[in-house]
Symmetry: C2
Subunit: 195 residues, 2 copies
């Protein structure tokens, strides 16, 4: 791997992280200043703004142990429980990565790498949705008229960062309200109604 200077690298990444968390628009020069190095030195560690942001998300994922969190619902005893746990875990993860996510989403139009990186992250989320849906189908509880793909698409869309933004930031919801409603909607969406 031979990283230039691991210390500086992580200083940059945490600088980017914290800035993105609070501030809307973050320039390379801002990150450099916060990390205590020159703007040009950033390019000794990352080839472009896009790659720096991508590295920041990976860094966050690592520090915050996303993967473990997202698969923490392995032990769920039912599809319903698995879905509920997944909504809770992912829904509560969103606010922690929202700053970086925002920045990465913003450059999707202009930067192919950013697009791929984000698509990749979202793919991991999608797999969580699929796992829950598969289990629900195995339980024989998949809502009539839905196939697995459609059901996963719906849950995945429901749990998008944009929707979180709109409800929490746009509509002023509390995080608890968000989680509660998402659980309710997710169940309503893919689980066959009692009768």
């Amino acid at each position: 791997m031979s990283r230039k200077n691991t210390q500086t690298r992580t200083r940059i990444l945490t600088a980017a992280w914290h800035l993105l968390e609070t501030d809307g628009t973050v320039r390379m020069s801002d990150i450099a200043k916060q990390a205590g190095i020159s703007r040009q030195a950033l390019y000794l560690h990352f080839p472009s703004r896009a790659e720096l942001l991508i590295a920041t998300t990976r860094y966050l994922d690592e520090v915050k142990h996303v993967d473990e969190r997202l698969t923490a619902n392995r032990a769920a005893r039912s599809g319903r429980e698995k879905l509920s746990l997944f909504v809770e875990v992912w829904g509560n993860y969103i606010p922690e990565i929202h700053g970086v996510a925002r920045a990465l989403m913003a450059m999707q139009d202009s930067d192919e790498e950013a697009r791929n990186a984000w698509a990749d992250r979202m793919h991991a989320v999608r797999e969580g949705c699929e796992a829950a849906v598969d289990r629900i189908e195995a339980d024989g509880l998949l809502a009539p008229g839905l196939d697995r793909k459609t059901a996963s698409d719906l849950i995945w869309t429901l749990l998008s960062v944009r929707n979180w933004e709109q409800l929490r930031l746009g509509c002023g919801w509390s995080q608890e309200a968000y989680i509660a409603q998402m659980k309710r909607l997710a169940e309503l969406t893919v689980i066959a109604p009692d009768r």
Copy 2:
């Protein structure tokens, strides 16, 4: 009013519209070329890119008669029917404005005017949601545990342009499938279940 030259103005607006419809990234120079005038002449009609895009959405709204369409569900006999009609009308309007919407959403971070203009458009949609929700409550069918605000927030979020993008473009859904599922979800979300 005293518009410089109305002909040129609408040439610009239709040029912007058509470009945005097909192409992802559209520069001022592209619009000028398409309209058959010089780039600088655009600024004789619109003070900035943001205002040009805003004017383009207004132009589209006018040409396509959004307002009439969005209120076409006045005659609905029940809240349920009103909601269904609203989902159908708005959901089928999204693809027609998607190009411009995309561009306007993209500059939300950088431009306050664009932000306000978009918020304003979305406010109109929200009113449609509220009207349906109010009617549903009047019918005594609002799902237990939901207040009007929460219900409207949910429907409004469900019907966001971003969600349409994700399902139609990201997941490859047909427009019909999109409409059908949105109707189903909207009802499930806010209407009390049969018993």
